[in-house]
Each structure stands twice: as structure tokens, then as C-alpha cells.
Symmetry: C2
Subunit: 300 residues, 2 copies
């Protein structure tokens, strides 16, 4: 097992100006593990309910994802219902039912505990720290994600996670909220000050930016003419990023820059369909070709 | 005269979380001409009132800007008063007094009319077309800018300008409004369809994007840790862009990409002070060094 991904497993109902999808597969662990698995052997840790369709589990297995860490327990799967209007950058929530996710206590299967790459997806920061403590040794790279919900309720713990991990991914609004500054460079400096070598801030369609103490990289978003559903793009970004680095086996600034380009490319493919539909049809050749296009986007 | 810049000449009172400035020099023509003049001989066309301090005119002259096209007439100079809060991307207007700008009818001095580079800054689209018609021959490059005010009131004329010019600059919200789409790639395609070889959309701190029919360039914003006042950055962007191209003397995709990097660099310097204060202290060496940094921002 190269990569372990922990997070939510969800069924979503989403409406966008381009259509709707009901009870489809989403969730931070699902999306991130799916994207990571394009690059490296990945194990998923999450919880689903009795209503979770077997075909979703089959889909993960078909991608070679280890599902030993995916528990199916009594109750219903985490459910989110929402919509996007004209502005696809803004999700509007209609309903959130935590269901079995409410009592999620991730337990890593024995053969996950020596993985070199760990992604702590969107779950409570306490659980993220708990998962990290279950590892037999400190992984080579620990990447985390968070969301406004936890920043508002458990800020101190979110900061603890930022301090513990190597790359604390967050998006621009989360970074601004966590560090109480509208300036993303200042927010990035604060991430770096919390014991990180790399600060990466996701900016949706505007791409992502990376800072080290002495350098900066700006990965643009892929110029998508038709966005169908942006749900899960942030998780796809994270999954592709860690999967790419796991495949390379090393974490250098050079490889991190490249991983961000792959992450941007895969997030853009995800936005071209509901659920994992567009990714299901994507081959490694498609992904490589899209990542290669970024060379032209950045040439001057 | 290589570059002619037409637009507003203003006195602004601005408050930001970092201080305030009262009755200071701003305006689309002023900012754009000032930035253009770093690269090429520039003439300004605009109107000011009797209250316009002589030291501002001296400042423009000192930069080598030809001021024959700058009329000083009876009445007061265009005045804008506004503030920025925590989010420096959002200007809040307190007061706009058009004053002498209301009856502005730009007349190009004879020796401006053969210029090869023309920037039609933020004035009514009818006046922009009128200025273009005053040129003795079609300039090599005509760049325009616009704003929501004109898109809402004179949409058809704004579209006429887009059709007439070579590069119709606008920012993301303007492009979305003009072409009724949240998707910037679609908006850019519509600009290209209106007889343009290049579509450039400004995105504030997120940089700018350029599209041709077959290619794409993403120039990031300069990662500024301390933004003092973003007023005029869009005009500085435009001025540096056209000035850079005028200096090079040719308009190719390669030079346009480079001009966007210089434009981003100069806009970021402008944001480091009120009015033109930061630019006043900037040497060509500083600007070149900042533009060069973008190589590192885009390397992967």
C-alpha cells in the first residue's frame, strides 16, 4: 500500500444549470482515493451505510483500490443535497445528513499502517490526528484538507493538524478564515511558520498557488469551456497530488510543482461530469495529455 | 509619439485598512499613460478641471509624457471617493462626481494621430469609437478597456468597440456580464468571435488569462504580501501591456505573453502604494526584476 486516504464517503444529489444527478457517489475519501489510484496503489478508509450500492464498491475495486478500510455499517450513508446556479463556484446546500458518518471512528487496517503517503481528507481534525497516530511510522508525506465547518468549530485542532502534517491543503476562503487575513500570501506564510516546508492554497477555477520560504509556483486552472459539476474537485486535486508524489516516491519542490499540475488536470476532468462519471472514462493517456498542455499555458 | 492613451483623469479619495489618501492623482488615462511611459513615448488625452494641481502635470511631464492632449477646462476634475475593507478585491463607492468629465469630448492633437499604438481607456464606448476615427491610419494595435457602467447602459456600443479593436481588455466580472456567462473560457471565445486574434481577461489578484483560437496563456498575479491600495491596477496593467508592445514594435503572441507578465508586475507595484506613489519610486530595473521572477512562478 503506497497511499492511504481517509475521509467521507457520500451519496449526493446535485443540481447544476446543466442537469442533475441523484444519490450519486461522492465524498472526500472516495474522490481522492479514486484520483490517487491512477498513480499508485491506494487504500481507502471511510464508512458507508446499508444503502450504499454494491456497484460503487465494485467501481473502487475495479480501480485497484484497497477497500479493507471501508466499513459498511447499519444506518444510512452520509448524504448531501445541493445545487449550483449560474456561478458554478458557489455551492448551495439544501440538506446535509451525517448519518453513519456522525459516529465515524476510522480504524486503519494493519496493512495500511506502514504506508508512506497519507491523505487526511475532510473529517474532524481530532480524527485526522487520531488516524496519524495509528501509523506505525511517520509517513514520508502527510497531506491534510479541511473545511470552514471545522475552522469555525475547532480552530485550535485545525491548527494542530496544520502543524503536524507536511502539506495542509486548504482553499482560498478557508485560508483567509483560518488566518484572519484576506491576503493569501500572508496566509501561506502562516502555514509555513507552522512547521511546513510547502504551503499550497487551492483557488478553484483560478488554480492553486504554492509557497516555500523562498519560492512560489502558480498552477493555473485548466481552461474548461463546459463545467458540468464542480463537486469534489478539491478532493480530486488532493488525491491526484498525493498519488502523483507516491508514484514518484519522493517529495521535492520540483515534484510538488508537477503534482499540482496533475492535480489541476484531474480536478478539471472531474468537473466535466457528475459524480465520477468523467473520470471513469479518463485514461492515463488523457490525463498526461492534459497535464502536458499546461506547459503551453505557462510559457512566456 | 508611439502610444496614445485616452481615458479619465481623476482625483480620488481612498480609504483602505492600511491608510487613506485624499484628493490624489488617479484616473484610467493617468495610470495607463504613466505605466506605458516606462516603455515608450506616450501621449495622454483627457480632461481636468481648474482644481487639478500643477504638480500632477509636472509629474507626467517629468516622465516624458506628452500632455498636449490633456485639456484643463473650467470646472472641477472628475472625483471618486471610496473605500476598501478587509477584502481588497472589492471597491465600495461613496461618491462619484463626473464634473468636467461629463462633457469630455476627446480631440487628438495632430501629432497623436499617426501613433501606432492606441489605448482606449475607460470612457463611453461612443467616445472610444470617435477617438479611433480620429486616427489618420489604423494603428498597428488598438487596445480597449471598459467597465460595468457602460456594459449596463450601452451594451451594443461596448460590443462595437470589442469588434473594432485588437485587444478588448476587460476584467472577469465585466466579461461575465457582457457575454452572459459565468464561464470565462466561453466569454473569451465570444471575444475572439468578434474579430479578435487575442482575448485577454484580467482577474485581479488571480492574474490574467489570454486566449487565441488555438492557445492559452495564464499569467499569475504577483504574490504581494502587502497590498496598500488596489485602485488603478487594471489601468496600470493596460498601460504596461501596450507600452511594452510599443517598445517591441510588434504584436505577436510571444510578445503579448511577455507584455502580460510586465503588466502584472507593474499592476502589483501600483498596489503597494496610494495613487502613483509606489510607481514613482520604481525604476526600470525594479520592474524588470519583478517580471523576471515570473519565470520561477511558472516553472514546472
Amino acid at each position: 500500500m503506497k497511499v492511504v486516504v481517509v475521509g467521507s464517503v457520500a451519496l449526493d444529489s446535485v443540481k447544476t444549470p446543466f442537469g442533475k444527478a441523484e444519490n450519486v457517489l461522492e465524498g472526500s475519501a472516495t474522490d481522492a482515493a479514486y484520483c490517487s489510484s491512477f498513480f499508485a496503489k491506494t487504500g481507502i478508509v471511510g464508512v458507508a451505510g446499508q444503502d450504499f450500492p454494491k456497484r460503487h464498491i465494485e467501481l473502487l475495486k475495479k480501480k485497484g483500490i484497497d477497500i479493507e478500510g471501508l466499513s459498511v455499517v447499519d444506518g444510512k450513508t452520509f448524504y448531501w443535497e445541493g445545487f449550483y446556479e449560474f456561478d458554478l463556484n458557489q455551492a448551495h446546500t439544501i440538506k446535509t445528513e451525517l448519518n453513519v458518518f456522525q459516529n465515524f471512528e476510522p480504524v486503519l487496517p494493519e496493512n495500511y499502517r506502514a504506508a508512506d503517503f497519507l491523505f487526511l481528507g475532510n473529517i474532524s481534525p481530532k480524527l485526522q490526528l487520531n488516524v496519524l497516530s495509528q501509523m506505525k511510522k511517520r509517513p514520508k508525506l502527510v497531506v491534510s484538507d479541511t473545511m470552514n465547518y471545522y475552522i469555525e468549530r475547532e480552530k485550535e485542532n485545525v491548527l494542530k493538524v496544520v502543524k503536524e502534517v507536511d502539506i495542509a491543503l486548504m482553499n482560498d476562503s478557508e485560508a483567509r478564515e483560518l488566518f484572519k487575513t484576506p491576503n493569501l500570501v500572508q496566509a501561506a506564510r502562516k502555514i509555513l511558520a507552522l512547521n511546513s516546508d510547502y504551503a499550497i492554497i487551492k483557488k478553484g477555477e483560478n488554480g492553486s498557488i504554492m509557497f516555500t520560504k523562498n519560492s512560489h509556483f502558480a498552477a493555473p486552472g485548466y481552461p474548461l469551456e463546459n463545467v458540468v459539476d464542480p463537486t469534489g474537485c478539491g478532493d480530486c486535486f488532493a488525491g491526484a497530488l498525493i498519488g502523483y508524489l507516491a508514484k514518484k516516491g519522493k517529495v521535492s519542490e520540483k515534484e510538488i510543482r508537477r503534482s499540482m499540475v496533475y492535480a489541476s488536470a484531474m480536478a478539471s476532468i472531474n468537473a466535466e461530469g457528475f459524480s465520477l462519471n468523467a473520470l471513469k472514462n479518463a485514461s492515463m493517456k488523457t490525463i498526461n495529455a492534459r497535464a502536458k498542455e499546461f506547459k503551453g499555458f505557462l510559457k512566456f
